[in-house]
């Protein structure tokens, strides 16, 4: 996407006007100051906003919202910018609002097991602050050292432990938001199950489209008495997939259940030497937590299930150091892929577990068709795939082919009864695939909800929900119940 830049005078004039709302030093408008904000972690999309504001109080955020609302200026919120779908991509005619100054942990309340946070607090900081009380915050995106709790709410982020402990939406207790007209609205406080419509759920995954999140209260959980990891290696990825279903089907809910394919295993071994078996086609990492007795027993049962489903090797971490080492490989997987390819593109579809083997085979075939390698490392327990397409942006046409391949992978996910995004959000990136997943009436309903909060469509315009016009242009057909049109065409 080409970088658009407004005229210097326009930006300076806007900055001057904004200076009446918040201190001048918290407004950026010179091009070199705007650059760091031109993209999120999906850096194939880049744009400069007219200005970046770094407010320090909720009142300032309210003033900025009113300012934009009165003048019809788009407003895009940004946490840490670790999003992977272009959600925080600036609007070229708008203002980018960074929550970077809102980093205070307002309250850790061990009696009620709650943490009240400003939106810019990082995910990991919450667990660190809770640790002295034997508590932690369960959703743990791999980006947790950097991503913000406000961004987590806006994306309904997950992590390795979501299989057992749920996503952000399941761990959220209260929010304060500023709506586009500048009003501060509190949703919930310290109790459960608020009266009226579930606006907490609605705000989760709303991608900065409905309101600015200015305060977040989350539930903390007791740190489990014990946790144990088992590694299982397979010669056939289909067997690994079957083992995943078998474990869940047997009534065992692991704290985490992750899969890596051969390409990923090799890359990880070359990078961090996690001790994974290099010759395996796939490995599963299964973490079980709970009381000591429970974990010991479940590990035995999982080991038996893995073996029964053709695991060529199983290994239980013998101590905390070994456990950390096993996880270190998983956590280093993305950077490891980054070392073997100039660029990679991370997809995020979710499918029913039963379809894992079929869809992974389909992805492999597509990868061969397009001549682009795909590495798989993902949350197998909840069917959340992260195919990483390896490409080189410097080769003409390769990014376009990558994006096309990505689109085809998402179509596979929809056809398998799944979804185009499990945790990274639609943002700018998957806006066209939304036309496949939802029909016109559903999209119209989304727009009606958006208009209830933001009638002028100023918050994060053009993201998350496509216009019907765009869908018509994209020429997409809605895929109903996994029935693609033209089923006779080979898709796998």
């Amino acid at each position: 996407m080409p970088t658009q830049s407004a005229s210097l005078q326009d930006r300076e004039r806007l900055a001057r006007e904004l200076g009446k709302q918040i201190p001048r030093q918290n407004i950026l408008w010179q091009e070199e100051d705007l650059r760091p904000y031109e993209c999120d972690a999906l850096s194939v999309y880049r744009r400069l906003p007219l200005a970046v504001v770094l407010p320090e109080t909720i009142e300032e955020i309210q003033r900025i919202a009113r300012f934009c609302n009165e003048r019809n200026i788009p407003l895009v919120a940004r946490g840490a910018g670790t999003g992977l779908s272009g959600g925080a991509l600036p609007d070229p005619g708008g203002i980018l609002l960074s929550l970077a100054r809102f980093q205070t942990i307002l309250d850790i309340d061990p009696e009620n097991r709650l943490a009240r946070l400003q939106p810019g607090v990082t995910n990991l900081a919450v667990s660190q602050a809770a640790a002295p009380h034997g508590l932690y915050y369960a959703p743990d995106p791999s980006s947790q050292i950097a991503c913000t709790i406000g961004g987590n709410v806006a994306e309904n982020s997950g992590g390795v432990h979501c299989l057992k402990y749920g996503l952000t939406v399941h761990n959220l207790v209260a929010l304060k938001i500023v709506t586009m007209d500048g009003e501060l609205v509190s949703i919930g406080e310290r109790a459960l199950d608020n009266p009226g419509y579930d606006l907490l759920a609605l705000m989760c995954g709303s991608e900065g489209m409905l309101g600015i999140i200015v305060e977040v209260t989350v539930r903390l959980l007791p740190v489990p008495e014990s946790a144990q990891v088992l590694l299982a290696a397979f010669d056939d990825i289909a067997n690994a997939a079957a083992a995943v279903s078998a474990i869940i089907g047997a009534g065992i809910i692991p704290a985490g259940l992750e899969m890596m394919d051969r390409l990923t295993i090799q890359a990880v071994e070359d990078f961090v030497h996690a001790g994974y078996p290099r010759d395996a086609e796939a490995i599963l990492l299964c973490e079980l937590d709970g009381t000591q007795q429970e974990v010991a027993e479940l590990i035995r049962r999982v080991e038996t299930l893995m073996r029964r489903h053709g695991a060529s090797e199983t290994r239980v971490a013998q101590n905390e150091q070994e456990r950390q080492r096993m996880w270190q490989g998983r956590k280093a997987a993305f950077p490891a892929i980054g070392r073997i390819s100039p660029d990679y593109y991370c997809m995020d579809g979710t499918i029913p577990r039963a379809a894992l083997a079929r869809v992974l085979t389909g992805i492999r075939r597509l990868s061969e068709d397009y001549g682009l390698p795909v590495a798989n490392v993902f949350h197998a327990g909840d069917g959340n795939l992260h195919p990483l397409i390896l490409y080189d942006a410097n080769r003409p046409g390769e990014l376009e082919r990558t994006e096309e391949l990505g689109g085809r992978i998402l179509e596979l996910c929809i056809a398998a009864g799944g979804t185009i995004t499990g945790e990274h959000g639609v943002g700018m990136e998957k806006i066209n695939q939304m036309c496949l997943q939802f029909d016109e009436a559903a999209l119209r309903q989304f727009h009606a909800v958006k208009a209830a909060f933001d009638p002028q469509g100023l918050l994060n315009p053009g993201k998350a929900v496509p216009t019907l016009h765009r869908c018509a242009e994209f020429g997409a057909m809605h895929v109903h119940h996994g029935e693609l049109k033209f089923p006779e065409l080979e898709r796998f």
Binding site: V185, R190, D198, G205, P224, G417, G418, A448, A452
Partner: protein, 351 residues
């Protein structure tokens, strides 16, 4: 199990209601007629739209029609060793899963297994334009589009007619044990909080005014060890949790008004005249007594929560919302049901 798809007829009824401007009162088994405000409108009977469409034990997922009797659904899940995570009360044999979700009713397992809304993965529904729309889906992780599925939980049918829902399931625990200890309310509150903050496999707690009940669930070894650590005795009443869930304990048989108060877990024993039963690790207080509406609501609010009138009279059945919040409610109602044909006034008189 009877399986019938009545969506075409339901859609026709909604369209007819739109045409003649006659609002509808969406009704399953009528077991929650007492909840919320009465609403005088033509009943829309959901009970012909019933049956499990798909149950995939390996996926921990069921797709079920809204008019399915809760008891039938529970029985079908139990046959596969699974259950709904939120242990919903039925309040009568005719309760349907749709009504349960519309009221967002969860039972004693709430602090452990989450609320009804937490289990909702996807919905197929009729909106107030007579359109059938689908949101979410069958998978656990799904952030495509706004979460309009969970928005239906607790909306009491004011945003649309739930047709089919995808729900997350959990395996039934291998073993369950209850222990009971004689403790006063204040000590019990502290004890509950301690248990819920410890790694013990606690799935429910309740103080009935005299005794503290705690339920443990998990693998046999683990439950045994936890029970020894907690002490106390096995209760005489083996159906205690069911009776609590269904309001069949003696605490609930009074003619006096009943309030459901949700507050911070560390809120004190309320200084309101009457009796109190505590659940959910302290987060839920059932209050039976004659305190005034304002007094009850002020107490709830002071402790970070809200109060609903369960039985008796109150100007507002559910806790009043702040101005800004209520404005968003009105606009959302408009966005789903512009003609105001679904359950007018049931949730809040002005909605």
């Amino acid at each position: 199990m009877l399986s019938l798809d009545d969506s075409a007829n339901l859609q026709a009824s909604v369209n007819a209601a739109l045409e003649n401007g006659m609002p509808l009162r969406i009704r399953g088994g009528g077991t929650k007629d007492f909840l919320g405000h009465p609403c005088n409108a033509t009943p829309l009977d959901m009970r012909r739209h019933r049956g499990v469409i798909d149950h995939q034990p390996g996926e921990l997922m069921v797709n079920v029609r809204a008019g399915t009797p809760l008891a039938e659904l529970n029985a079908a899940l139990a046959r596969e060793g699974q259950q709904l995570p939120f242990e919903p009360p039925a309040f009568g044999t005719d309760a349907t899963i749709g009504g349960t979700l519309a009221c967002n009713l969860s039972g004693p397992a709430r602090p452990h297994g989450g609320a009804a809304r937490d289990a909702m993965l996807g919905v197929r529904m009729l909106n107030g334009r007579g359109e059938i729309v689908e949101f979410g889906g069958q998978v656990m992780k799904n952030v495509a589009g706004y979460d309009l599925t969970r928005l239906m939980a607790g909306a009491m049918g004011t945003l649309g007619v739930l047709l089919d829902v995808y729900l997350k399931l959990v395996p039934m625990p291998e073993q369950t044990t209850t222990r009971v200890l004689e403790l006063d309310a204040e000590t019990a509150l502290r004890q509950m909080r301690e248990w819920h903050a410890s790694p013990l496999p606690v799935t429910a707690t309740c103080h009935d005014g005299h005794r503290l009940y705690v339920r443990l669930a998990g693998t046999a070894d683990c439950v045994g060890a936890a029970a020894r650590r907690i002490g106390g005795e096995e209760p005489a009443d083996t159906d205690f949790w069911r009776d609590l869930r269904e309001h069949r304990l003696s605490f609930f048989d009074s003619q006096r008004p009943l309030w459901r108060i949700s507050v911070a877990a560390n809120a004190p024993v309320p200084d309101l005249p009457g009796d109190c039963l505590i659940e959910w690790g302290g987060n839920l207080r059932w209050y039976r007594g004659d305190a005034g509406e304002t007094e009850i609501r002020d107490w709830a609010q002071m402790h970070g929560g809200h109060a609903s009138c369960w039985r008796g009279h109150a100007a507002q059945a559910f806790h009043p919302l702040s101005g800004g919040l209520f404005k968003l409610h009105r606009k959302l109602k408009q966005a789903f049901d512009p003609a105001g044909i679904f359950n007018p006034g049931r949730l809040y008189p002005e909605l």
